[in-house]
């Protein structure tokens, strides 16, 4: 069998390279200076400029990683509520508790706790003076209904059942906060429910709390990435779900996910920085654009997917 493939002796290449390296560098410098650009991801640009020293300093990822619509921001379900939008209904629970009010004073019916009605509010507040825009929105919500922020609904008898078993409001909802309506702090993190249910030997079947057919969050995520040794919080930050964290705990934004990946995939990270691994776009003599690891590899299941190839070439006999 002939030797189709042979290792290259790169010595002669170095000889060519030395000859015109200087003029090439000057050409490159001029080309870089002449090109302006707008980074779609300004933060990542700055990081890459600092991190990648082997290349022109205007390298940046071409696009943010492909997160599924609706997952961002993670803190919507995990951890503290995001700041309420302008005009969104919020209730200043903290201020009322400081005045000595108890949960039951406003949320009278234990079986189906509802917000206080306007008449009760009027006992202390001047009728007609609702104060801020958000307070006005709250009172409007009392009559018109509040917007649901939640995809997962809890069955209605939940409150009654919990009350019977002696679980206090704060047992699930935590201490009341000034969070947007419908999101009492980090109350309904499901982990809280399942832990408590496990301790009390209550059922943790899905249908115990959720209507049958409810789509579970993250149902689309399949962890096939050294899953025997890895869980969500190895990469996602437990305290702030809108960031990732390195093994040493350093939080990093999603745009710098390559630092996280590089902890295990060191040689790959090195090759990526040099332009040997991963796709580059832009120009060979000036501005180059990078794609992040997560642009091509699903971080939960990183193997590159199978593709449908384009048709084979025409055989000579088919041409005639």
């Amino acid at each position: 069998m002939p030797n189709w493939f042979a290792r290259v002796d790169t010595a002669h290449i170095h000889t060519w390279a030395a000859a015109a390296a200087l003029s090439a560098a000057l050409t490159l410098l001029a080309a870089c200076g002449a090109q302006g650009h707008k980074a779609p991801y300004q933060g990542a640009l700055e990081v890459l400029a600092a991190e990648i020293t082997a290349h022109s300093e205007d390298a940046f990822p071409a696009a943010p990683p492909p997160f599924t619509e609706g997952i961002f921001p993670c803190s919507r379900c995990h951890g503290d509520a995001p700041p309420p939008d302008e005009g969104e209904a919020v209730f200043p629970h903290v201020a009322h508790l400081e005045k000595g009010l108890e949960c039951e004073d406003c949320h009278e019916d234990d079986a189906a706790p509802t917000p206080a009605d306007a008449e009760f509010c009027d006992e202390c507040h001047e009728p007609g003076d609702r104060g801020s825009e958000r307070a006005t929105a709250y009172f409007a919500g009392l009559t018109d209904g509040f917007p649901s922020r939640w995809d997962v609904t809890v069955k209605s008898p939940a409150h009654e059942t919990h009350q019977e078993k002696g679980v206090a409001c704060a047992g699930c909802h935590g201490q009341p906060s000034n969070a947007p309506f419908g999101k009492p702090g980090a109350a309904v993190l499901m982990q809280r429910c399942t832990t408590c249910h496990a301790e009390r030997e209550a059922s943790i079947d899905c249908e115990t709390c959720h209507e049958a057919g409810t789509e579970a969050p993250h149902a689309n995520i399949v962890l096939h990435h050294a899953e025997a040794q890895r869980g969500c919080l190895d990469c996602h930050d437990a305290n702030d779900r809108d960031v990732l964290h390195l093994a040493n705990g350093t939080p990093i934004p999603f745009e710098q996910s390559y630092r996280l990946c590089g902890q295990c995939h060191g040689p790959r990270l090195r090759d990526w920085r040099l332009g040997i691994h991963g796709k580059r776009t832009g120009t060979w003599d000036g501005r180059k654009e990078y794609l992040l690891c997560a642009n091509c590899h699903n971080p939960h299941s990183p193997r590159f997917p199978q593709m449908v190839p384009l048709p084979p070439p025409t055989r000579p006999k088919e041409v005639r």
Partner: protein, 300 residues
């Protein structure tokens, strides 16, 4: 080097006889026959020549076609890298190449035009290694990569010691200063010696009138690159000379969805391809033939 005599002089000397022989030909054909070769044109001749080509193509394809002659830059030597661990045989590079470089498509008015693809993607069983005897370029899979197979795209290797250039009897093909091996389509006599000399099967012959639908014609062309070719000439990959001399990456590089392709200036120490050969083990095809390719394969 200037030849001792030119076709025009010969024709001038034998004008009477030639005139008789060519009486049936139109002026354009006579002009085409006696034209000076590209490499020997003075700037004025070249300007007229390019303008004539642009006018001809613009009329033929009904769009504004440009034919440029951007020259090689100083301090640039192109080289290409291809990661055999990444390539999955999806053939997107082939499609992009055909569209960018105005290659002949299958079918055509006669129904049997000779389709040309400058990139051949071979499927080889992993257990065989890089053995072209085991390679299949007609693989037809529902999805790739197929189990146990790897993929080896082969195109012009732009050799430093190109056998195709050596054998051309009319010097219609040569290596440019930036490493690109090109063909003067107007000077090629279609003898196909270069095709038999090339050990990589990288050269292709227009057996029939190329089938290039006007709506698919790429109007940004280079005179020794992707300008439409006539029947009876040889053509090949030019590293997308019309793109790369403007700073762009080649079309196959831009189209590759797996990021298997690396391209750049070997003389620039920071370029991807230079970093590649300095830091990885790279391989060339058929090294024993001493062709010294500018196309490096590696396992990323």
């Amino acid at each position: 080097m200037t030849p001792k005599f030119k076709r025009r002089d010969v024709l001038g000397a034998g004008a009477a006889a030639a005139g008789l022989a060519m009486a049936g030909c139109g002026n354009e054909l006579v002009e085409a026959f006696i034209k000076t070769r590209l490499a020997e044109m003075d700037p004025k001749q070249l300007e007229t020549y390019l303008a004539d080509l642009e006018a001809e193509y613009s009329a033929r394809y009904g769009k504004d076609v440009s034919v440029d002659d951007t020259q090689a830059r100083d301090g640039v030597l192109f080289a290409y890298g291809l990661d055999l661990d990444r390539c999955n045989g999806n053939r997107r590079c082939v499609e992009a190449c055909v569209e960018e470089n105005n290659q002949s498509r299958a079918g055509g008015p006669s129904g049997h035009s000779n389709p040309i693809e400058w990139i051949e993607v071979f499927e080889i069983p992993k257990e065989k290694g890089v053995d072209l005897d085991e390679a299949d370029r007609y693989f037809d899979r529902e999805s790739v990569p197929a189990p146990g197979m790897f993929y080896l795209p082969v195109q012009c290797q732009h050799c430093d010691n190109p056998p195709c250039v050596k054998v051309c009897p009319v010097e219609a093909t040569w290596k440019e200063p930036d490493g690109i091996v090109v063909i003067d389509y107007d000077w090629c006599i279609g003898c196909r010696c270069c095709m038999s000399a090339c050990p990589y099967g990288a050269r292709h012959f227009n057996w029939s009138e190329p089938n290039l639908p006007a709506e698919e014609m790429n109007p940004n062309t280079h005179v020794v690159g992707n300008r439409p070719r006539p029947r009876g000439v040889v053509e090949k990959c030019t590293f997308c000379i019309q793109r790369t001399r403007q700073g762009k990456y080649p079309a196959c590089h831009a189209a590759c969805p797996t990021g298997a392709r690396v391209f750049g200036n070997l003389l620039d120490p920071a370029s991807e391809v230079r970093q590649l050969i300095e830091r990885k083990r790279v391989y060339i095809l058929k090294a024993e033939l001493n062709t010294r390719p500018s196309f490096f394969y590696f396992y990323g």
